[in-house]
Amino acid sequence: MLDVSAATVAFTAPGGPVVRAVDGVSFQVPAGTFVVVIGTNGSGKSTLLGSIAGTVRLDSGRIAVAGHDVTRWSEQRRARFLGRVFQDPRAGTASSLTVLENLAVAARRGRPAGLAWATTRRLREEAAGRLAAIQPGLETRLDQPIGSMSGGQRQVVSLVMATWHRPEVLLLDEHTAALDPAAADRVVKATARLVRDQGLTALMVTHSLEQAAALGDRLLLVHRGRIALDVEGGSEAPPLGRGSRRPLRPPPPRRPARRRRRPHPPRPLRLTPA
């Protein structure tokens, strides 16, 4: 369960005005919900995710995870509750370490590191089992430096690392954006499977409406630092905003544009605040 209330992050550009990247945002994510956050570049969605992860400090407001007020907690302390997958596969895995060593670090998330051997036989067996279940073939590469693997494979390992111990909230920061379509598809499937199997609560930032529809139970549209739209998908879910009764589906295929006789002026986009 994630509870964000009146979260505000402001930046002051040198000599410029104060910009509220996140402007009094409040929302709750009940356990077991997959929330997708979308928005244009500069909308504040990444800052919002960063403020939950602990990489960006709130100027005001409160963030609670699993009933703990983590607002003033450091990034590494919050890791006790949070599993994270980054956009860049190189940011979420240590290139010079083997796949198994990366998993060994993940296996100590939320626990003291200690002086026991990192890569035990037990860990190896469990790692092989988990990787084989999510992407068969990866389990044969446990002893290879993870830097020698493709971005897609690294992201799958990253997902396994983030969920090695069931996180209270899984944070996915555009985690397929750096991948080619085929690899992105594999990572989305792996994500869906891990989330389903572990019944995870997840928050994903993405640009892809297709992924939002495939994975999300609920959609937050962030615009100029605020939640402009909060749509809950699924026929059983109660509607939250206007026109949200229908479940989220991928947009229909685009028809070839017809020639209009009279061009009319563009209508301003009207968004209903949540």
Binding site: A53, S74, E75, Q76, R77, A79, R80, L82, R84, F86, R90, A91, G92, T93, A94, S95, S96, L97, E101, N102, A104, V105, A106, R108, R109, G110, R111, A113, G114, L115, A116, W117, A118, T119, M161, A162
Partner: protein, 303 residues
């Protein structure tokens, strides 16, 4: 024969600097110029303790501990105060220049015949060296054997440590800080611990080097960080990209080979004034030649 063995013994003592630089620069990507100051600090503290009549083992350990404290200081400057790695090291090594002078009392202090750890080691390995047929050079051979055992032990402890959960987390933090933090590790404190280990090794090297040459000098650490890097790069160029164990062995091999190269160059007529310049040249060659051979993309050589 004696000169050659002695050269190798000095090279083996400096291999500990290479191991220290390997930890700071290779594992943590921290160009730590504290090395110059902590090498001298190790020698200075060990010498002062020896001159005051302490046991050689205690004196050497004291020098090593002082190095660890210097490393912690540099690490805290970076992790707590956010000062850049290079500047943190410069601040600490500048401070150490004064500390070393104050501790030693003057710029140069001889051991004046005090028993050293090297002599103790020599006595232990002498029967073995005699049995191996070293004859007149048995003393030097025993010293070299002792030093090699010390370096091998240090490398083995490092190898074991960096395969524990804490050591693996430290390597992960040095490699990709974002990943380590996301998995709950305080990368700042991991860096502090890494620099403590690195500078403890460097100071141990200084303590042993001082005992080998029979005196401590406040200038003896100048250029040590470049020496360490030269050894690490030379070792990597000789052995190639390997895992942790191979890389540690390569650093040791690089140091001993480098010392031998220097000794050969001096014997071949190189003026000692050009020693530091040739060290820099070796670093340059060790960085560039493997890249030219494998045609790796630009900018990848320093890692």
């Amino acid at each position: 024969m004696i000169t050659l063995l002695s050269t190798w013994t000095f090279g083996a003592a400096l291999a500990l600097v290479a191991l220290g630089v390997f930890v700071s620069y290779r594992l943590f990507r921290f160009p730590d110029v504290t090395t110059d100051g902590s090498f001298t600090l190790g020698a200075v503290c060990a010498t002062v303790l020896l001159v005051r009549g302490h046991d050689p083992a205690v004196a050497t350990a004291g020098g090593m501990a002082a190095g660890a404290v210097a490393g912690i200081g540099t690490g805290l400057l970076h992790a707590v105060f956010g000062i850049e790695p290079l500047l943190s090291g410069i601040l600490m090594t500048t401070t150490l220049a004064s500390v070393n002078l104050v501790v030693l009392g003057r710029s140069n202090v001889p051991l004046a015949g005090r028993a050293t750890l090297l002599e103790r080691g020599e006595a232990a390995f002498l029967p073995l060296a005699r049995a191996a047929g070293f004859g007149e050079a048995a003393g030097e051979a025993a010293q070299l054997a002792f030093m090699l055992v010390l370096v091998a032990t240090a490398a083995a402890i490092l190898f074991a440590f960096f395969r524990t959960n804490l050591g693996t987390a430290m390597r992960a933090g040095g490699d990709t800080a974002t990943m380590a933090r996301a998995l709950g590790r305080d990368t700042g404190m991991l860096t502090v611990a890494g620099l403590a280990i690195s500078n403890a090794l460097t100071a141990l090297s200084g303590a042993l080097y001082g005992q080998l040459q029979g005196f401590a000098d406040v200038q003896m650490g100048i250029g040590m960080v470049v020496w360490g890097m030269a050894s690490v790069f030379l070792g990597a160029a000789l052995v190639g990209q390997t895992r942790l164990g191979g890389a540690l062995a390569a650093a040791v091999a690089g140091s001993i080979t480098f010392r031998l190269l220097v000794a050969t160059a001096l014997r071949a007529g190189l003026h000692p004034d050009w020693l530091k310049a040739s060290t820099a040249l070796v670093v340059f060659a060790a960085l560039v030649v493997p890249r030219l051979l494998t045609r790796r993309p630009q900018g990848s050589a320093a890692r």
